[in-house]
């Protein structure tokens, strides 16, 4: 119960500090807006099922604020419906990646010895493999259509990069006096890791979680764009891919059909980056630009 209370107070202070950083606060607002749009929006505005050939490729108007696509369907509606899957995959991947990376990174740094050497070598080898080509090849061979499976695959590819950084952080924390004291007092490895080291890394982990999410969005939309992941249904990436494949990028009438998903994805990435950078400044006062 006390941990929940401390967590909430921490959250409160963080939000208050965050509000001073305009860019970060903007990021938070935009992110919350996009989440609400994607989860609440579909309930308020149900999707279109029929195509409306009379209204193909219309520009922005009162009836269609973001114009229409090649089937005459409203772009804004598709944007409202298209965010959920992307957000889900992104957050699941982000959380999985962070979980795996933190566990392995922390354990590796803490236990040291053979385990650490093997893990470090494994991570180094893994990081020399170009990630996106590998991902593309795997996606081709496995024909992933399940959201969870895709998230797992992305996480399995993304964790080494983060693990290496976590390991470096834990190694430097390990040298701190209170950790040495805990080790000498023989408080037990799980206790030391979960009660002493990780709580001091919470800020770092949170920021890493956000970056992992950003990476996941990049990867999944890239795969969808290339048509390697047969995800159906509403999805900004699918929307972009369909528009692109119909040459919408080269047709001036169809611009909104392309700009809408591009704008949505860009906004999502930007809001996450602004939030992450803002959190970095909040947690690391030395980065702050004002005295």
């Amino acid at each position: 119960m006390t941990t929940l209370r401390t967590f909430l107070t921490e959250l409160g202070t963080t939000l208050k500090l965050l509000s001073r950083n305009r860019v970060a606060f903007l990021g938070l607002i935009v992110l919350v807006f996009l989440i609400l749009l994607s989860y609440v929006g579909p309930l308020l505005w149900p999707a279109e099922t029929r195509s409306n050939l009379a209204e193909i490729y219309q520009g922005p108007s009162l009836k269609h604020p973001l114009g229409t696509d090649f089937q005459g369907q409203d772009n804004l509606l598709q944007i409202i419906h298209g965010g959920r899957v992307i957000l889900e995959i992104a957050f699941i991947t982000g959380i999985l990646t962070t979980l795996i990376a933190v566990t392995i990174g922390a354990l590796s740094a803490f236990i040291g010895g053979a385990f650490d050497s093997v893990m470090t070598e494994l991570i180094n080898v893994w990081l020399t493999i170009p990630q996106f080509p590998l991902l593309a090849i795997l996606a081709t061979m496995l024909k992933v259509s399940d959201v969870w499976l895709l998230a797992v695959i992305l996480a399995l590819l993304d964790w080494p990069g983060l693990a290496r950084q976590v390991r470096a952080q834990v190694l430097s924390l390990k040298k701190r006096d209170y950790i040495e004291a805990a080790i000498t007092l023989d408080l037990g490895t799980p206790h030391i890791i979960f009660r002493e080291i990780l709580p001091n890394m919470m800020s770092y982990i949170t920021i890493s979680l956000i970056f992992a999410t950003i990476g996941a969005i990049y990867q999944q939309t890239g795969l969808v764009f290339l048509g390697l992941v047969p995800l159906s249904g509403a999805n900004w990436g699918v929307m972009l891919s369909l528009a692109y494949n119909r040459g919408a990028v080269y047709t001036s009438d169809a611009i909104m059909n392309v700009l809408s998903p591009v704008g949505a994805i860009a906004l999502l990435q930007l809001s996450l980056v602004w939030l992450a950078r803002g959190l970095e400044e909040v947690f690391n006062p030395r980065l702050r630009t004002s005295v």
């Binding site: 996106f132 080509p133 593309a136 090849i137 611009i255 990435q269 630009t289």
Partner: protein, 356 residues
């Protein structure tokens, strides 16, 4: 002793390479070779053991086309460069053997065209396009990053930092689509023909001005996309590196000695601040070879990335495998060069033996 054969500069350089460095060199080479071997082995087994492994799928395809099992196997074998009836470990040895001879198998789709040949044809375009852009964005990044580190909290600092962060966040292909959209379709500044391909049809490749101009015209927008999406990261890294270098005692001490600011900027701040970036540059070069799958697809630019993209669509496994291998080897090599480079540039590392 060796002064007659080698120029004075080379001998001084050699004098800077004592025994520890040779050990370091040998260790680096061995590590690289090991990594290459590990990755090729992984590729081999992953492709063959994965569900829906391409070899079996290929054989199935051929069976459906009416070939007998043996014929199907033979064709598959010649395509993928291995014999399928042999036990797995023999296939592996054969695979490695072929590899060492530069035989990456033959393309599935373009019958009997060696994969190695296809890669070699496409490689120069990727290296040229991404390599040039990398150098431009690196140079720009270093200069701008250092400038805004010196002029902290100026309007330029706020502008560039936010811009750089935004550019860094956006996926490169989104930037590509946006730019094509804006510059070619909406504002019609760039003709559509310049957004596809590396050269216009009909222009003969050669050392002619016509050829170079045409190549540059086709490259311009692509370069712009690459530079826009990559410079941000360099600017931010250089800014933070310069800021921490500016806080070092030796910079204040240099000013205390009355050194001109120009000298301090180059030899005291610049050299130390760019050290971590130079190694990152060496590492990036490795990824240059991978091309950018998505961007080259969008621009239909005939590099390795497009080759991979086409191979992915047509399930051309030998080509996929070949490109992937070549890309990974390039990255391993650039890691190796990066290690060496860092050791050479930072005298402190040489004694320690290994770059951190």
């Amino acid at each position: 002793m060796t002064t007659t054969v080698l120029s004075p500069r080379m001998t001084t350089w050699l004098k800077r390479v004592p025994i520890e460095d040779f050990k370091f060199l040998v260790r680096s080479i061995l590590k690289s070779l090991f990594t290459i071997w590990l990755v090729t082995t992984l590729i081999f087994f992953v492709i063959r053991l994965m569900p829906g492994n391409p070899v079996d799928i290929f054989v199935q395809d051929l069976l459906l086309k009416g070939l007998t099992y043996e014929d199907a196997q033979t064709q598959a074998a010649s395509m993928l460069g291995v014999r399928l009836d042999r036990p797995l470990h023999e296939q592996y040895i054969e695979f490695l053997g072929n590899l060492l001879q530069g035989d990456l198998g033959k393309s599935y789709i373009s019958r009997n065209v060696p994969v190695a040949q296809m890669i070699v044809q496409r490689l120069p375009w990727s290296i040229f396009s991404i390599g040039t852009a990398l150098l431009i964005s690196f140079t720009l990044g270093i200069l701008l990053g250092m400038i805004i580190a010196y002029k902290r909290n100026s309007w330029l600092d706020h502008l560039l930092t936010n811009l750089a962060a935004a550019m860094d966040a956006l996926p490169s292909y989104l930037i590509a689509i946006l730019l094509i959209l804006l510059l070619s379709t909406v504002f019609k500044i760039v003709p559509v023909t310049m957004t596809r391909g590396a050269v216009s049809p009909g222009i003969q490749p050669g050392f002619t001005l016509e050829f170079f101009v045409d190549v540059l015209k086709h490259y311009a927008l692509l370069a712009f996309v690459y530079v826009l999406s990559r410079t941000g990261s360099w600017i931010l890294t250089m800014k933070s590196s310069t800021m921490s270098t500016l806080g070092e005692d030796y910079v204040t001490a240099a000013r205390a000695r009355g050194l001109p600011e120009g000298r301090i900027i180059t030899a005291y701040v610049g050299r130390n601040a760019s050290l971590p970036l130079v190694t990152r540059l060496a590492l990036s070069i490795g990824f240059v070879v991978g091309g950018s799958v998505i961007i080259e697809s969008i621009f239909v630019y005939p590099g390795i990335g497009l080759l991979l993209s086409q191979a992915l669509y047509s399930r051309d496994y030998p080509v996929m495998q070949g490109v992937f291998l070549v890309t990974t080897i390039a990255v391993v090599l650039s890691n190796f060069v990066a290690d060496l480079l860092y050791g050479w540039l930072d005298p402190r590392i040489r004694i320690a033996g290994e770059a951190q």
